[in-house]
Amino acid sequence: MVMKVDPSKKWTGPVRPYDIIKEGVIAVVVVAVLAGGLSLLFSSPDDKAVTLKSWSNNNAADFALTTSGELAGTTTSAGYGAPYNHAANGPTLGPLKLQDWVGVHIPVDPPNDFVVTPLLMLNDANTTTALATWKVASADQQIKWATAYSDALGKAPGATSIPDVKNQFGPVPQMVTSLLAMAKTGALDGALTTSQTPLPTDFTKPLLFLADSDGYFGDMAAKQHLSGDQWGVMNETGSWPGQSWLWLFSLWYQVEPFKSSGNADTLVMTLMGLLTLALALFPILPIIRKLPYKIPIHRLIWKKWYARKL
C-alpha cells in the first residue's frame, strides 16, 4: 500500500527512536578526533610573510626595476584606477563601470607614496638634491626620466643601477638607489605602514608595492602554484588543501572568454553571483527542480523506506 502524504503537513506515520542530543555529542567527538588527527598528521602550512626588506635584499634588481616603474607610472598600482587613483577606469560589465563609479576611497599615489615621500625621511645630501631636482621638473619630464631608466634596467637583468652616460635619467638613479638602501634596512616597511597611523593594521601600501613585483612576489607565488592560471584561487602553499570550495570560481579563470578578457574579474564575480542566486532559487527553477524526480538518487537515500513498503 502506498501511503500518500502532504509533505507540508506534520508527519503522523510510523516513527523510530532518535536522540538528537546524543547524535550531536557523537558528531562533535567525531569531528574533534578527525580534526585533531589530521592536525597531528599533517599540521598546517606557514610560509613566512615577505617584506620590502626581504624583497630588496633577495632580489635587489627587481626592487630597483619596480621602483623605477612606480616613478614612470607603468606598474599595476600606478595604472590601477579606483579605489586607489584615477589612472584608469578599471574593468567594466558592458556599460557598467562598477569599479570606476564607486570612486577613489583608498587614495594611493604610487610615485609619491611608495618612493618620494619615504625618501623625504632621509637626511642624505645626494637624496635631497635628487628629490629637489625631481620636484621642480614637469610631470612629462619626470615620466621621461623614469621611463628611460626603467627601460634601461629592464635591458640589464640583475642590475640595480645603470650609469647615465647619455644624461637621460635625471635624478631617478639616485632616488632608486636611495630607496633600495632604505628598503634593505627595513625602514621602508615602517615608512609605508605607518604613513596613516603610528600603530598600523592596514598594509595596503606595502602590499600594493609588493604586488607590483613580478620578479619576486609573483615569482614566489608561481613557485607555490598560486597564480591565477595555476588554479591559485583554490590552492594553498605547499601540498595542503586550500579553499577547494572555490573550485568553480577558479575554473572560470582557466577558460575562455574569461581567461583572456581584461574584464575577467567583473565577469567571473558577476557569473558566480548569478550562479549563487540560481542555487538559492533551485526550488522554483523549472528544469532544475524536476531533476531529483527524473534522476532517482532518492531511491538510494530512502532505500530502506521503499523496501519496507513493499
Binding site: 507540508s8 598546517s44 600594493l208
Partner: protein, 215 residues
C-alpha cells in the same frame, strides 16, 4: 472588558505577534525530538549534524586562537596546533556542508513549504565562504599576503573593494572574528529552527505533490 484579550488586540501587540510566529509554531518535541519519522534512516542525514559539529569546532579553536592574538601561532607549537585544528575543521566543515547540500537537492528537500529552509542553507553556504576568505586573509603569512593582493581585484571590479579592503588586515581580523561568525551563526540557527519546525521532508513518491512538483 475582554477587549485587551481580543484577537485584534493581540494582533497589534508586538510581543504576542512575536510569540505567535516563533514559540507557538513549535512544540518541545519538534525542538528536541526523541523520535523521528521512520523514513529518516540513511547516512546522508549525518552530514547536517556533522556540519554543525564542525562549525562548533571552528568556534572553539577560533576562540582559543583569539586568546593570544593573530601572530601567536607563528611562534608557539601549541598555537600552531590549534591553527591546524582550525584549518582542518574548516576543510571538514565545507566537505560535510557540500555533501549535505547535494543530499538535500536529490531529496528535493524544499517540498512541503520548505523553500525558506533551502534558501537559508544556501545563505549559510555563501556567508561561510566569505568568512573563510577573511580567515585566510588574517594568517599573517605569505599565503595571506598573496590572497589579499589577488582577491582585491575581484572585489574592486565589483565596486566592493572601497568598503572591504582585503589589504587591510585589521578590517579582515574584525570581520572574521566578530561580524561574520555572528552572521553565519544567526543564519545557521535560523536554518536549524526551520528544519525542526517543518520536520524532515518525506520521501519522494510518498507525497501527493509529485505530479505538480509543487513546493
Amino acid at each position: 472588558m475582554n477587549s485587551s484579550h481580543s484577537n485584534s488586540g493581540k494582533d497589534k501587540n508586538w510581543t504576542a505577534r512575536l510569540r505567535k510566529s516563533t514559540l507557538e509554531t513549535m512544540e518541545p518535541q519538534d525542538l528536541l525530538p526523541d523520535n523521528q519519522p521512520a523514513y529518516v534512516a540513511s547516512w546522508i542525514y549525518v552530514f547536517g549534524v556533522l556540519t554543525i559539529a564542525s562549525l562548533l569546532m571552528l568556534i572553539i579553536t577560533g576562540l582559543i586562537l583569539t586568546l593570544e592574538g593573530p601572530s601567536w601561532w607563528h611562534v608557539s607549537s601549541v598555537g600552531h596546533f590549534f591553527n591546524s585544528m582550525h584549518l582542518w575543521s574548516v576543510e571538514l566543515f565545507f566537505v560535510f556542508m557540500v555533501v549535505h547540500l547535494w543530499g538535500k537537492f536529490w531529496m528535493a528537500a524544499w517540498r512541503g513549504k520548505r523553500t525558506a529552509t533551502w534558501i537559508t542553507g544556501v545563505l549559510a553556504f555563501g556567508t561561510s565562504i566569505i568568512t573563510a576568505l577573511t580567515g585566510y586573509l588574517i594568517q599573517t603569512n605569505f599565503d595571506s599576503q598573496w590572497i589579499a593582493t589577488q582577491a582585491k581585484d575581484g572585489f574592486n571590479a565589483m565596486g566592493i573593494g572601497s568598503f572591504f579592503n582585503t589589504l587591510n588586515t585589521g578590517q579582515a581580523i574584525l570581520l572574521h572574528v566578530a561580524l561574520l561568525p555572528l552572521v553565519v551563526g544567526i543564519i545557521v540557527v535560523w536554518h536549524i529552527l526551520l528544519v525542526r519546525r517543518k520536520g524532515v521532508v518525506p520521501p519522494i513518491d510518498n507525497d501527493s505533490t509529485i505530479q505538480t512538483g509543487a513546493f
